[in-house]
Symmetry: C2
Amino acid sequence: MATGPDYSARRSRLTRSFKSAGVDALLVTGLANVRYLTGFTGDSTWLYLSKSATVLISDTRYETQIANECDIVDVDIRDARKPMKVAVSEIVKKAKPKRLGFEPAHVTFGQHADLSEEITAAELVPTGGLTERLREVKDKWELQQIRDAVHMAERGIAVVRSGLTLDQTEQEIRYILEAAMRSFGATGPGFEPIVGVGPTAALPHAHAGDLSVSESPILLIDWGAETKSGYRSDLTRVFVTGKPSKQMEKVYNTVQEAQQAAIAAIKPGVKCVDVDTIARNIIADAGFGKRFGHGLGHGFGLEIHESVRMSPLTDQVFEPGMVVTVEPGIYLPGKFGVRIEDDILVTRDGHEVLSSVPREFDDAIVEFLA
Amino acid sequence: MATGPDYSARRSRLTRSFKSAGVDALLVTGLANVRYLTGFTGDSTWLYLSKSATVLISDTRYETQIANECDIVDVDIRDARKPMKVAVSEIVKKAKPKRLGFEPAHVTFGQHADLSEEITAAELVPTGGLTERLREVKDKWELQQIRDAVHMAERGIAVVRSGLTLDQTEQEIRYILEAAMRSFGATGPGFEPIVGVGPTAALPHAHAGDLSVSESPILLIDWGAETKSGYRSDLTRVFVTGKPSKQMEKVYNTVQEAQQAAIAAIKPGVKCVDVDTIARNIIADAGFGKRFGHGLGHGFGLEIHESVRMSPLTDQVFEPGMVVTVEPGIYLPGKFGVRIEDDILVTRDGHEVLSSVPREFDDAIVEFLA
């Protein structure tokens, strides 16, 4: 069994990156980054970190929770009378950093203006992605959490599939799936599950609605579980619930071919964009180039979308320990859509597919009594 | 029956505020603001708005959904090859605003840096709160949605209370509550419900965990429903599930007195801070001043926390049509906490309490067989 995370070691790795980033201290404001570095699961809480100081800045709502969840020695609890910017400024006055980094993706323009006004002794330096970079590569404990999240998701979809009827609606299926994943230990879905029949499946980010399974031969489910520790899984399968058209079969097989070719290319040293291109070209060659608009996949863990990204715009390279989705899709508006998504771990010499729900066209067919 | 929202009229009200804000156009990036102004329920989508142009900037994942949900004539769909900043810049080049407002609370420091780099012909002007200001006062249709959300929440808690047993855990109660609200038409909870037994109830923002009802005489539930239209309710009740201590009764009655006094003071023209002070003083006079650290309440609607806020720091004034929570609390770490929360509509000559779950101490007592 992997032991729990060593938050102190994570913080040490982060502070070792300060010198090359040109800062003496960092204000960590991204929720998932704060959780990764401290174990705290609430919100509205920032972390001031330097080689000599580690301070969680929170408010009275979280005083006891922080004591329960965190190994942090120094906690600054403010009440409703003290704004966050004042609490930060007081710490800066004591700790006296010259260059204080902040996370440009997790500080709004307005918050930065407030902080700039309040903090005059230190220079505020945008310092992006330091913690996200650490989070790209999962440690042994994190990988076990993600394997658990995949397991919960797979058991959940088995419950849905085994109980599927033609009169169930998208929403009903969503709730059955969520309840099943919880019964297997998930705290809930890893994100709002997408359950789409026919035309709804053609919307890559649809909300589950009132269409019933009988209204199209295509049922798309994009789902995942979240563990108690906050780690997620992210999968998509299409079920064929009626007589499919030739076009449906062609679209399905094209997506599946694109996905398998992309997965096969994943190993350390390979560029993310090159894997995206492999899938994109197969889909374009089949004549559906304009019907696959989104990126091929993304990292995930404490958040459902994390660095790295596979898209035409990324310049990242795979490393051992990264975990990504591979999820090409083809969407025919008003008709149907197909997306097939698996969770892939980059290993030292290649990759491991963490998810094992069958993905061949024949596997997707669900039989009902006539 | 109130008819559906007139998005075009909302946008007109917004553009009428541009002159005094000193901008020719506004880039709306807050998700709930975009939904309020267009009806679009997805994410990753911004609205460019001026007197002569209304453009939704989105990506291929949302092309069909926008066509289904929105009355917007002009939609700019980008694919994975085009970054958002480039799409915005292209629109600015065509529309030629001199001063382009943006929302400082909904644009990160990093996004602003990207936009500044790309957009050279227009000046980017931080223009905060224009849409939030409109959203503070709910129209007739919105009030009906909120009344529906309160109704769904109240029916949900009745299911929980009527089925309560001493061996149910916090998590089990949470799931029963969510399922019940869905059966009454909610798309889900309006936020992650807080279900806390004893010491968990002392954490104002706890996650529902594994404590069972039998472990303390105090059970706190903070919950709400979300309607299909995206509107929420937000209530809190404490149930007494065993023999309470004298201290529990005193704390309960203090919170209830503070809440009732605060609610009684709500009417148009009254300052939010003054209502906060009324509750805070009653709690302090009873000797629990340090045990009530958070603000007294907040507006809600499409988001669970909206303007206005009742706290020691606010300078807002009540107007007819505002809807707020009133939710004082007293938290004794390691022991228990009590919070009582209702949803209040500011009317022309006073207020209306939208929620009707009983709130007297005697009402809170749940009887079990010995």
